[in-house]
């Protein structure tokens, strides 16, 4: 389905995502890591748009960039010890880490190459927002409500922790 331009755009986005992902874990300055994380999330939003899932893309930017990363940047800026600190990039557990990571890599490659991917022949939905809304209110109403309860309890927990002074 991807042809010409969309293929080129896909590879550019993939390069952005992987490149910035590598930078997130390898930058010495934690503030720079957070900024590369923003770029990485932006690239993922681009992939969603390429798959004509605009609603998910907008929500991705709104939540991951607008809320989560900014919260992280706030934490970095308000923590005196982290502020402009040079973080050590490796720890003592090099050998176990290497084993676990290579095992994960092997499993992932195995899973990716052995799975037969189902392809839909239907044209992508144009009115995604309405469809998602209907599904959330009918088929998936229970998980949806559970997620709201989880969020509510997280909210109350945050207030309780913040008031303990």
């Amino acid at each position: 389905m991807l042809t010409g331009v969309s293929e080129a755009v896909y590879y550019i986005l993939a390069a952005i995502i992987i490149g910035s992902g590598v930078m997130v874990v390898s930058m010495k300055n934690i503030f720079h890591s957070a900024l590369f994380l923003v770029l990485c999330f932006f690239g993922v939003a681009g992939i969603y748009i390429l798959l004509s899932a605009e609603f998910i893309a907008a929500v991705q930017v709104l939540i991951y960039v607008g809320a989560i990363t900014i919260l992280m940047i706030f934490a970095i800026m308000l923590t005196a010890r982290l502020y402009s600190a040079q973080i050590k990039q490796s720890n003592e557990q090099v050998v176990p880490g290497l084993i676990i990571v290579s095992a994960l890599l092997v499993i992932t490659i195995f899973a990716l190459s052995k799975t037969t991917w189902k392809l839909s022949s239907q044209a992508p939905e144009t009115q995604t927002v309405a469809e998602i809304g209907k599904l959330l209110m009918t088929t998936y109403v229970l998980p949806f409500e559970i997620v709201s309860v989880v969020l509510l309890s997280a909210l109350i927990g945050a207030i309780v922790i913040a008031r303990r002074d």
Binding site: G4, V5, N29, F31, H32, L35, V38, E54, F55, A58, V59, V61, L62, V65, G66, A67, T69, I70, I73, F74, M77, L78, S84, T126, Q127, T128, V129
Partner: protein
């Protein structure tokens, strides 16, 4: 009735016929028209920013019984052009202790995020760059990049005033984004669409304008939007008495100009969104649609300027309290009532 949208369509069709005669594929036509549209939007933003800088100075001057700029041209109309040339020609200073890459990229991030809002603004009939079916949600999402840019500026400057200014403005924008989004939801509920064009076409007659059907939503949106663009009475991120100039203390020349430019770009953008969501967008009698849109947008800008020169600045704790304890419950109440009766 002269509709600019039809003129653009005619130009596009003419270019298309030329391209087919020369046998150039459709892709290049689309690319060229994208560049042309982008240039047109950039020209509109530049002209309105230059005009608004002058206008703001004149409005403030007349409200304070002064004259404002008078020396350059008739009533000083060339003042902002000359200021812009001065800022561009200034030496580009990067202080020694700043985080260089972050410092340089920050104004670009702020400006680009301000610019990207214009993709979804319907300037007139058929004058929207792309009528995304997530229209207003896209605008809400893309404006969050401004926060990243401001935090980058505040942190990259390596200066405590800049850092505090950046933190304050980010905290403010995040807090006011919640009532802002909730007030937009009222409009979306009635229209049953997120598309900007559908929101405009749902308000064809004056009595259908959402300012009358969603008066509370309108007030909440306007208040939160003024806070989002850091203007008085919500301009504590750049409170001179406390923070020198906030996040742009270390910036000068062209980079300072970009922050300034982005500020006015954002002002035009929020006014255009207010016009689209609550004031019927391009709808109006006799005049072409794009003229109606400009009249309404610039009227909203005038109102926002009026606020700036009338109200004093809020204190930082009052500002947060106002967002969380007053605007947020009000927006929720409005949303619940709208959902119940719409």
């Amino acid at each position: 009735m002269f509709e600019l949208g039809k003129a653009f369509e005619a130009i596009y069709n003419w270019l298309g016929s030329l391209f087919t005669r020369w046998g150039i594929p459709q892709f290049w036509l689309d690319l060229l028209s994208m560049f042309l549209v982008f240039a047109a939007v950039l020209a509109f933003i530049t002209l309105s920013a230059l005009f608004l800088v002058w206008w703001e100075r004149k409005v403030s001057a007349h409200m304070q019984v002064r004259l404002g700029p008078m020396r350059t041209g008739w009533h000083g109309w060339r003042q902002s052009i000359i200021d812009a040339i001065k800022l561009i020609m200034k030496e580009d200073i990067i202080p020694a202790k700043v985080d260089k890459a972050v410092f340089v990229i920050a104004p670009i991030v702020v400006f680009v995020s301000a610019l990207m809002v214009y993709v979804c603004i319907p300037f007139g009939k058929g004058m929207i760059i792309k009528d995304l079916n997530i229209g207003i949600l896209y605008i809400l999402a893309i404006t969050t990049f401004t926060v990243v840019g401001l935090l980058m500026a505040g942190w990259g400057s390596n200066n405590k005033y800049s850092l505090l200014g950046g933190l304050r403005s980010a905290a403010q924008i995040i807090s006011y984004e919640v009532p802002l989004t909730l007030s937009v939801l009222g409009v979306v509920l009635i229209t049953q669409s997120l598309s900007m064009v559908k929101i405009v076409t749902a308000q064809t007659h004056v009595w259908q304008w959402y300012i009358f059907r969603q008066p509370v939503g309108f007030l909440v949106y306007l208040t939160a939007a003024i806070a989002e663009v850091n203007r008085t009475p919500f301009d504590i991120p750049e409170a001179e008495q406390e923070l020198v100039a906030g996040y742009n203390t270390e910036y000068s020349g062209m980079k300072f100009a970009m922050f300034f430019f982005a500020e006015y770009t954002n002002l035009v953008a929020i006014s255009a969104v207010v016009t689209t969501l609550f004031l019927g967008g391009w709808n109006g009698p006799w005049l072409p649609s794009w003229i109606w849109f400009l009249i309404k947008t610039f009227f909203v800008i005038l109102v926002v300027m009026w606020f700036r020169w009338t109200y004093p600045r809020l204190r930082v704790d009052q500002l947060m309290g106002f967002a969380w304890k007053f605007l947020l419950p009000l927006a929720f109440l409005n949303l619940i009532l709208t959902a119940a009766f719409a």
